[in-house]
Symmetry: C2
Subunit: 109 residues, 2 copies
Amino acid sequence: MLDKTLRMNLLYDFYQSLLTQKQRKYMSLYYLDDFSLGEIAEAFEVSRQAVYDNIKRTEAMLEEYEAKLMLLAKFEQRTELLTQIKEAIESNATPEEIMSMLDSLEKLD
Amino acid sequence: MLDKTLRMNLLYDFYQSLLTQKQRKYMSLYYLDDFSLGEIAEAFEVSRQAVYDNIKRTEAMLEEYEAKLMLLAKFEQRTELLTQIKEAIESNATPEEIMSMLDSLEKLD
């Protein structure tokens, strides 16, 4: 499992279009720009608790979307296989071997 | 633009996990199993209009998800590029050329 902050950054990358504008603001300030809950609360003139609750709910939503769509998991599988294909080409694998790896890549979708 | 039925089948493939159980039932009977609205209405003991409204709303939801996440569009781009890479290997492209196409594939994500 990735470090929580890195994972939230990645999930946010994949699913931010499904969030409300307020959720996007809070999440990007907290996870991308490293603002504290208190700083976000002050900037939006709401309570620290309100910011905390919103971010916790958003984190749960991102994990629910990932459980359903698995965009991050599939991205990681594709990236790993692509790395293997590049290594195979660098070690002079045969065209047949490369083709077979490309077939596997296609089947990941 | 793809034929409507084919497009709905593909969008359903990508986003069915985001639909309710009832939406999935109606959509799969209508688009995958080719039932008529009347047949679905009879099977679920609801009006034909209720089935029609549900399916129309679901179609709109699928298009909204695609507008936000573009899973079908990205899938089509990846598939097209993979086909080009395979063709390049078959025409004996250099390892450098294949590598560069694989880089493009990686950047699609």
